[in-house]
């Protein structure tokens, strides 16, 4: 449907680049803000200055992350008008949900972030804690609204199409569309999981280096407790989400699994570990398979029917390779995190994670350090699967991507895409460099002394 480098393809690439860059910062904002709020709450409750120190130390990273998150989010909002004007003009619902997101979520984050980061000596502790909670609420609400908008594009409910325009018939159905609850949960857990792996990985690194080992043993333990809950929960929710996709978007599911032929009655569909999909001949050139598992996963019966891609017209097939492999990256990462959580939980039970003994668990700590970057691979892999797998639709079953793009001159889009990649690359590299510098400096004395209680607190 696309020739490479027409303006539709370029607009798609540009949106994909903007989304992939933005998401890598925003997932961390959501979870890190929540982690800081928990630390601050524990400090207010226990008066233990270690918690205060954590709230201050991680805030410094949050600020670096927040700034680049904000400026990479802005182009995404404008892209709907810039590159997808026909979509913006034709679709009811999507625009007002984005509008609602800006009104309810973004200002809440931005309006309280100043006090959260710079207001420690300016407002009483309880009011400061309130501000931190508002930043958490704002960033969490932004996950909710953006997932409402995106899930509606995956399973558009509550609308009818009338003469090319999408007319809304029910807000309740559109907001609570079939994909919304499960995918919002999946995404929110992904934010928390990425953040706990970052906190845990960085803490493990400090313990390995023997710097502030007791201080960071505390945050490592907090990350572990969160991981023990979230890692299994995410695997379960991910599985639920997969079955939802099979239900709502069978073409995406078949592409995710490179599953060409519907399994005949009485035979199970195999789960493919790795394959080389051959789109021209509608088959896999080779595949490593586990029999019955795909049927088991999706239907909970070893011979349940799973529709293959060949059931659908070829112009409705999403790109297979870019759906199949990113999905596998995400799944393998998810199970790796589960394994890491269980391993760490077992060492905890053996009493090996106390502040004194933790430094001896070197292999475990190195695994945590390695898991941090893998968290981003999982998030990006999941989003590529979700968005590429939706093709050729922009709004599944209603609006095709090709008809929703602004007929811009390809040169202008190519130039802006190139410009975006250069700038995003530069800023991300600078972020990584400065974050590494902040980590190398570590917490300093000013962060470890809580402010004196003020009148009115």
């Amino acid at each position: 449907m696309d020739t490479l480098f027409d303006s539709v393809m370029l607009s798609r690439l540009q949106f994909a680049a903007m989304a992939m860059v933005h998401i890598s910062f925003s997932v961390l904002t959501v979870g890190l803000a929540l982690f800081i709020a928990v630390m601050e709450g524990l400090w207010l409750r226990t008066k233990d200055p270690v918690y205060y120190g954590h709230a201050r130390f991680w805030s410094r990273l949050l600020l670096l992350n927040f700034g680049i998150g904000v400026v990479t989010g802005l182009p995404l909002e404008f892209a709907f008008g810039n590159n997808w004007a026909p979509f913006a003009a034709r679709s009811a619902f999507f625009g007002e949900i984005l509008g609602t997101e800006t009104l309810s979520a973004f200002m809440l984050e931005a309006g309280f972030l100043g006090v959260m980061i710079f207001g420690w000596n300016r407002v009483p502790p309880k009011l400061h804690f309130f501000s931190t909670c508002m930043v958490v609420l704002g960033s969490s609400l932004s996950v909710f609204w953006i997932m409402v908008a995106n899930s509606w594009m995956q399973s558009p409910a509550g609308v009818v199409v009338d003469g090319g325009r999408i007319i809304l018939t029910s807000y309740r159905e559109a907001v609570f569309n079939p994909d919304m609850v499960i995918s919002t949960t999946h995404m929110y857990l992904a934010c928390l999981q990425t953040s706990l792996l970052v906190v845990g990985g960085i803490s493990a690194w400090y313990v390995l280096k023997g710097r502030h080992a007791a201080f960071f043993a505390r945050s490592f333990q907090a990350a572990l407790i969160a991981a023990l809950v979230i890692a299994p929960l995410q695997v379960w929710i991910g599985d639920e989400n997969g079955r939802e996709v099979a239900n709502l978007q069978p073409t995406k599911l078949a592409a995710m699994e490179a599953h060409w032929e519907t399994n005949p009655a009485g035979q199970g569909a195999a789960w493919i570990i790795a394959a080389w999909p051959d789109e021209a001949n509608q088959r896999n050139a080779w595949a490593v398979e586990v029999p019955y598992v795909l049927s088991l996963l999706l239907t909970h019966s070893p011979t349940g029917e799973v529709k293959g891609l060949k059931e659908f017209p070829r112009d409705l097939h999403p790109p297979i390779l870019m759906t199949f492999y990113p999905f596998r990256v995400m799944v393998f990462a998810g199970f790796a995190f589960l394994g890491l959580a269980l391993w760490t939980g077992w060492r905890w039970k053996k009493g090996a994670l106390t502040a004194e003994r933790l430094a001896g668990e070197r292999r475990l700590l190195y695994a945590w350090v390695a898991a941090g970057p893998l968290a981003w691979a999982a998030v990006e892999g999941g989003w590529i699967t979700r968005e590429v797998g939706r093709q050729p639709w922009l709004v599944y079953g209603l609006v095709r991507t090709g008809e929703a793009a602004t007929p811009l001159p390809p040169g202008a889009v190519a130039a802006s895409l190139a410009g975006y990649l250069v700038i995003a690359g530069l800023l991300t590299a600078a972020f990584v460099g400065l974050a590494a510098r902040v980590l190398a400096q570590g917490p300093d004395a000013s962060m470890l002394e809580p402010p004196q209680a003020r009148p009115g607190s």
């Binding site: 009104l103 980061i117 510098r437």
Partner: protein
């Protein structure tokens, strides 16, 4: 309800005007300060300027995000038409804002502060000029056919929008320097006030040339804002503007602490009101009205309910955040420094 419904587009026209004003007034001083920081004489001066906005620039920029979100929701056709017609200046603006924004956060953490200080200044300058071309491009009129932009992709680049960009840059510098005058002491404050006076005269000169150019266009029968149904309302704002300008000069001469900034903000309010009065009921001049461009009534009701509740709340907590950081700027609030 039926009667009320016919007024919903007017409500959103007003709300968007308010958001445009809030964005210009708040991020205007951040961006203007950024431009002024290019003339800083020592790195400490630049550090002082950046610190003075570090706690509130997120909120300022977020008014632009909300402006975009509400425009998308209430007038989706306008959003599509304007954003695609203004593709180039909007992209350049986003690039400028990106450098400005991260520079504020990265400045204190970097071993090479001067580099990020420069990114702060240049990013602000680029974003300001691009915003001028964006607004100027919109106001210079766009042909719309069947809800799609039907003009050329370079239409935004014209003498009128260039004048708006120049005038806008002077206006933002005025806001930035008068803001700095509230936060700084001594020699830096003196220099800020002196620059503010120059910027004020530049704004006046720019607006006079723009008005002159528009009347000439109008006389020759070509489109300008004055050709719109309510275009002549622009003239009504002139005496108000001149009064505020005189009061601004007076407060600058007396080197008052907060007044110059307040008068500058009022100047911008008058400008936005003037533009809005001339434009009404057009969303994209010359021919796309807010009634033609509005989202379906259900969508408008939904967004009306959300925004009528949340806009006052937002204004309240933003005001509180400004109150927390009011007065002279200090470096004691920085984490880890």
């Amino acid at each position: 309800m039926e009667t009320l419904q016919t007024y919903l587009p007017d409500y959103f026209f007003l709300a968007l005007g308010l958001l445009l004003f809030l964005y210009m007034a708040t991020d205007g001083y951040n961006l203007g300060l950024g431009i002024f920081s290019l003339a800083a004489r020592r790195e400490e001066e630049r550090a002082f300027m950046i610190h003075s906005i570090a706690s509130t620039w997120h909120a300022s920029q977020t008014w632009l995000v909300i402006l975009g979100g509400l425009l998308f929701g209430a007038f989706p056709v306008v959003y599509g038409v304007a954003m695609s017609a203004l593709y180039v200046p909007v992209m350049i603006m986003l690039a400028g804002l990106a450098f400005r924004g991260v520079a504020v956060e990265f400045y204190d953490e970097s071993p090479n502060r001067a580099r990020w200080g420069l990114a702060f200044g240049l990013g602000s300058l680029v974003a300001t000029v691009a915003q001028g071309f964006t607004l100027g491009g919109l106001l210079s009129g766009m042909p719309v056919v069947n809800g799609q932009f039907a003009g050329g992709w370079g239409d935004w680049l014209n003498p009128f929008s260039a004048l708006v960009a120049a005038g806008g840059a002077a206006g933002f510098v005025l806001l930035g320097t008068t803001y700095l005058a509230m936060k700084a002491d001594g020699e830096l404050r003196g220099r800020a006030l002196k620059t503010a006076a120059i910027a004020a005269w530049a704004v006046l000169a720019g607006l006079s040339v723009i008005l002159l150019w528009m009347s000439l266009q109008h006389r020759e029968g070509r489109y300008s804002l004055l050709a719109l149904r309510q275009g002549h309302y622009i003239y009504l704002t002139v005496p108000i503007f001149l009064f505020e300008f005189a009061m601004l000069l007076r407060s600058l001469r007396k080197a008052e602490p907060d007044k110059p900034f307040q008068w500058s903000v009022l100047l911008f309010l008058t400008l936005v009101v003037g533009i809005a009065a001339a434009l009404y009921p057009m969303a994209v001049p010359p021919g796309l009205s807010i009634f033609d461009a509005a989202a379906p009534p259900r969508s408008l009701w939904f967004l009306f309910a959300v925004s009528a509740v949340l806009l006052p709340v937002m204004l309240a907590y933003n005001a509180w955040q400004y109150l927390v950081f009011r007065g002279r700027a200090g470096g004691a609030d920085r984490p880890g420094h």
